[in-house]
């Protein structure tokens, strides 16, 4: 299992349990992501706090999963990105594609606050 999950209200927090997100585990990662998204959660927060390195295969898996989530009217949020990974995502403009928060706690607080406003 590459993901450790907890349920927070109607959101799923999935912490990625690998240090290196690469070609070696991208396919397995994609299957697990899609399986989690398909459980019906509107929002899935993926925490990268254990992840030190990602490559294009892993990012491709992440984008495929986002497309799957959006097709189900859901969404994916990324949190706890190491600076090197955040810089890489910004360089290829993934910050325009994914919602990114500094920490999982910050994401949860903002999302709960937004839900209360509705």
């Amino acid at each position: 299992m590459l993901l450790k999950t907890t349920v927070e209200g109607d959101m799923l927090v999935a912490t990625i349990q690998i240090k290196e997100g690469s070609l070696q585990n991208a396919d397995e990662f994609k299957l697990e992501l899609i399986s989690q998204i398909s459980k019906g959660f509107q929002l899935v927060i993926f925490s990268f706090k254990e992840v030190e390195y990602v490559d294009s295969s892993f990012l491709g898996a992440l984008v495929a999963s986002l497309k799957h989530a959006l097709s189900l009217k859901g969404d994916i949020i990324l949190t706890d990105l190491e600076k090197n990974i955040y810089d890489l995502l910004c360089m290829i403009r993934m910050d325009k594609v994914f919602k990114i928060y500094r920490t999982t706690e910050e994401a949860l607080a903002k999302l709960v606050m937004n839900a209360e406003k509705l």
Binding site: S22, N84, I92, R93, V97
Partner: protein, 182 residues
């Protein structure tokens, strides 16, 4: 000023399991070679992204057992060359598979990737393909139409110059990246 160049060749097995070790070995060499430059962290990060993608690309697309990296560190530049032996670079453009260099017309610019974020071009001149990228203006808050293949984009964006050529004598595919140190 006298120019000093530090050149070293690294040879690795081309398989998924050895990618990380290969990456670390070359990165340590580059980090030591560039020393205490004020932008050393930036050069190291970009080198890491470039090497990662060059290694991943070889593991995905080349059936050859060995892969060579030539690293040249000068006073003002780092050059990273990946050499692998096999079929020349080929890519699908507009439903047509184009193989280098025959299918490419000299001095023509080809769009090899396009989505809502960027356009990746390849231009062939003197039988050398040069990759360049252009960001697409984003009008809405969020982008949805995006490709899932980022390898060439990451290398092109991380480098100051990124080229490819095929050596017919040695049958070597040579991907060359240049990083300006200044």
């Amino acid at each position: 000023m006298q120019r000093n160049y530090n050149y070293k060749r690294f040879t690795f097995s081309n398989n998924k399991a050895t990618l990380i070790a290969a990456l670390d070995t070359i990165l340590v060499h580059i980090r030591q070679g560039i020393g205490n430059l004020c932008n050393a962290d930036n050069i190291t990060s970009r080198s890491k992204w470039i090497l990662t993608e060059l290694l991943t690309n070889a593991s995905k697309h080349s059936n050859e057992n060995l892969i060579n990296f030539d690293i040249c560190i000068g006073n003002s530049i780092v050059e990273i060359a990946k050499l692998e032996y096999g079929e020349p670079f080929a890519i699908q453009i507009d439903d047509e598979r184009k193989t280098f260099p025959g299918s490419f017309i000299e001095n023509n610019q080809y769009i090899i990737h396009k989505d809502d974020l960027c356009i990746l071009y390849a231009t062939v001149s003197n039988k050398i393909m040069t990759f360049t990228i252009e960001d697409v203006e984003i009008t809405g808050e969020r982008v949805h139409e995006i490709n899932e293949h980022f390898g060439l984009i990451i290398i092109t964006k991380s480098s100051d110059k990124f080229t490819y050529k095929y050596d017919f004598e040695t049958k070597a595919n040579i991907f060359m990246v240049k990083l300006n140190l200044a």
